[in-house]
Symmetry: C2
């Protein structure tokens, strides 16, 4: 009974919410639209998320958090050199963004910007996601022999820059901002080596 049945209605709702919020933000996405996209009914949504739209939003952010963390971990473990790994990661994001028709950028930044200081529950989920991602990068850098404080600062800038470059690429509808940012990050990281 505690197990979710079939291809999981709850999962479909979270996935649809995450996708829609990625593309049109939190405010721009309606509960009914989420239900429709998930091929669920309003009743189901409120059954699984008695907390309403906020609760769906939090779950969607957490889902996107884990999804991007997995992508980041995979990209970083494929390459021994962290500088090259991050540049490759930026290129991968650029490809994905292009293939989506310049629509699928960072899955939570739109939601983050709309809700800062106004919806604490979502704010907190976003905060945790950013910490999560930064820590993944920081751990990789530490593992590659970077000094503790350098690793932390570099990881912060890596996340910031990827985030910003994704936005810029989306605005310009061009892969260039992301690929260039990746190369610049690699150059920056290499300048700390040794």
């Amino acid at each position: 009974m505690a197990k979710s049945p079939q291809p999981g209605t709850r999962e479909r709702i979270v996935h649809a919410a995450s996708l829609l919020m990625q593309r049109q933000g939190y405010e721009g996405t309606g509960i009914k639209q989420i239900a429709q996209e998930a091929e669920a009914t309003l009743g189901s949504v409120y059954h699984f998320f008695p907390g309403g739209k906020q609760a769906v939003g939090v779950a969607a952010v957490q889902h996107a958090d884990q999804e991007f963390a997995d992508l980041l971990s995979a990209a970083l473990s494929e390459e021994a050199d962290p500088a090259k790994a991050i540049a490759a990661c930026a290129r991968a994001l650029a490809c994905h963004l292009r293939d989506s028709g310049w629509v699928d950028g960072c899955p939570i930044s739109a939601t983050a910007l709309e809700t800062t200081g106004r919806v604490p529950a979502i704010e907190q989920a976003v905060n945790r996601a950013f910490q999560h991602w930064r820590d993944i990068v920081a751990d990789t850098l530490r593992g590659a022999g970077f000094r503790e404080s350098d690793a932390h600062d570099l990881a912060t800038t890596v996340i910031s820059t990827l985030e910003g470059a994704e936005l810029t690429a989306q605005v310009f509808k061009s892969e260039t901002p992301l690929t260039v940012a990746g190369e610049h990050l690699a150059r920056l990281i290499n300048s700390y080596k040794g």
Copy 2:
């Protein structure tokens, strides 16, 4: 209610729209809220902006575009060394963000993310703003003797990174991401010198 002094009604509307959209995005901001904040009436808003909410949004983005361009130009012309100037600019953004209670980040990024691929008029205004800002940085770098292509790529990354760092700083409610990003950008720029 009480009649407002000097500044024209149209200007008050644009200013209020810009501020509200900065804090809660395009979708999260209502026309009536804009009118109220501007101490104007709905009739006045539709008198000055027959195009409705989209038209107000475009004007707000253009206003924010010019405002940030002025801030950028001022910061860049205060320092001869562009690397130091950009680091100083990042610190200034951090101060402003902190003083606003971590609420006033980039004035258009929330709107940009919500409207990409969905509201062409606003999309275009955002595109022009990013180009505008990038060109200001690129011109400064070119003026400081950087190669044409280096200046262009660096300018793109500077805007991306500032944008992303502002978001990260907002999420973490900390000045650090912005100040660190500023220092990293300075280091990156200096690595292209000579």
